[in-house]
Amino acid sequence: MGALLTFEVSRIVRSPRFFLFTVGFPLVMFLVFSSVYGRSDPSTVDYLMISMAAYGAVAASIVTGSRTAIERQVGWNRQLRLTPLSSVDYLVSKVAAAMVVTLPCLVLVFAGGVLFEHVSLGVGTWTQLLVFCWLGVLPTAVLGLLIGLLATGDSAQAMGMVSMLALSMLGGLWFPLNTLPAVMTTVAQALPSYWLAEFGHEALAGNAPSLQGVITMAAWVAAVGALVVVRYRRDTARG
């Protein structure tokens, strides 16, 4: 199982496109936004840093999972089924790979905060921030895999893009929710992207993640994970 995880990660990490667009883009957006809005107020910089890190994490995890569609299309999954690799090993490795490659997205935006925007936090807070945000990626990592198992090679990119934009906009990563009607906050609170950023804000304030957040995230992982299992079974039984 470790072998498939290593294989997956090394393939993604060697892709220059992944680094440029998926990892680099959120950092650039963070630096642009904070130079426009954050000059007067350090708390705005903190807020933007977490929002853009969360956006990058959502994007990277969904993009990674949705690549599975192309692998299925070229018959890679059939080839894997001719080995002793179990379904559980396969699915867990895919989600774990998405989690691993998301880590640099988070680290890069946070590093940008330290180096360019003078964000200064204690080691404990940084650790908490990174760990909570990273665990908060799990629902979208599973969701990305679901897209990869549902889509065809052609539609995967579009499906991934739409999910990623919907989650980041409705989850309040691009616009502050308090400038929008209250119903938008209710919508956001049902989304894993909102709670991913919330975990970050809580960590910054020195708090543990809220119970509502943890429950919402767990519900997403359970529901999407169940769909992944059903879809994977159907995909392999198609013969």
Partner: protein
């Protein structure tokens, strides 16, 4: 040898009453076949004859509608999981952005006792390609990477679906040389192919499929004999196909410009009449029907 007891335990492949229906389409429709350990079996048939579907069921990639398949006495999935079966699928199955070493390395890591890495690459003839990305390889080179992936568990049964389809003549020759050294160690091989010459040259036994059923099963010479007869070729200017069809002893006629090809059940009679009726015929040749003729006769006869 690790796997000798497994091999001697009985049939390598045992197929009984195998059928696979997709709605109204009977892709495989009642196939029986027993393959002994050490046999090299060529699976032949026109497109849609059920070769790939049979192979999918043999590998546990598809479940039969009816009938049973066992591989070394086990269910196909179990045999695959135990590393007894190596398979090379028709196309695809590789990721362009991984290197050859990463790909073969991944498959190795999934088995408890894989072949040594270098030996796997050497046997498949890709030792010098280890660092290359799969996407940059030629069709023939990719095919040898698939071959390496199939060999990695040192399987007792190797299943190949159209193994040389993307290769040039030289690549094909090298591939079969590599295969030979593998089958010489007494392993069982089942391969599907469109190239009848490959079945003729490399298979101990040929199974001919048509419309999901076995129409012939035997050694190459036995199957060839089923379509007993010879082929007459001649140059006849302005040949009339319908007139040629009426010649005695002729079963089918093919006219390509001035070149006429007559498949005959009785070539002696056909030849006498041919020369009598068409004195302008020249460059006449008579040869024994090859596997190809048997193939054409057997798969056409019953379709009519």
């Amino acid at each position: 040898m690790r796997s000798t007891d497994t091999v001697t335990r009985g049939a390598a492949v045992h197929i009984r009453g195998l059928a696979k229906h997709y709605g109204d389409v009977r892709a495989v429709d009642g196939v029986d076949m027993t393959i002994a350990p050490g046999e090299v079996v060529g699976l032949l048939g026109p497109n849609g004859a059920g070769k790939s579907t049979t192979i999918d069921m043999l590998l546990g990639l598809a479940d039969p509608t009816r009938g049973t398949v066992s591989v070394f006495g086990r269910a196909p999935r179990d045999a695959v999981g135990a590393g007894l079966v190596g398979a090379m699928l028709q196309s695809g199955g590789l990721l362009d952005d991984a290197t050859v070493a990463q790909t073969v390395g991944l498959f190795r890591a999934m088995y408890p006792n894989p072949l040594p890495f270098k030996e796997t690459l050497a046997r498949a003839g890709i030792a010098e390609l280890a660092g290359r990305r799969v996407g940059l390889l030629s069709g023939g080179e990719k095919q040898r990477v698939r071959f390496a992936s199939a060999l990695v568990s040192d399987p007792d049964l190797l299943v190949l679906d159209e193994p040389t389809v993307a290769m040039d003549v030289e690549g094909r020759r090298e591939f079969w040389t590599a295969m030979r050294s593998y089958t010489d160690t007494g392993r069982t091989v089942v391969f599907a192919t469109h190239y009848l010459a490959e079945a003729e040259d490399y298979a101990d036994r040929v199974v001919l499929l048509r419309s999901g059923q076995v129409v012939a099963d035997g050694s190459v010479s036995q199957v060839r004999a089923l379509a007993a007869g010879r082929v007459i070729t001649a140059k006849i200017p302005h040949a009339d196909e319908s007139a040629l069809t009426t010649l005695p002893g002729v079963t089918s006629v093919l006219v390509r410009g001035a070149i006429v090809e007559l498949t005959c059940a009785d070539s002696d009679r056909a030849l006498r009449e041919l020369l009598a009726r068409h004195p302008q015929a020249h460059d006449v040749e008579v040869r024994g029907a090859g596997l190809e003729a048997a193939f054409v006769t057997l798969t056409r006869q019953e379709a009519a």
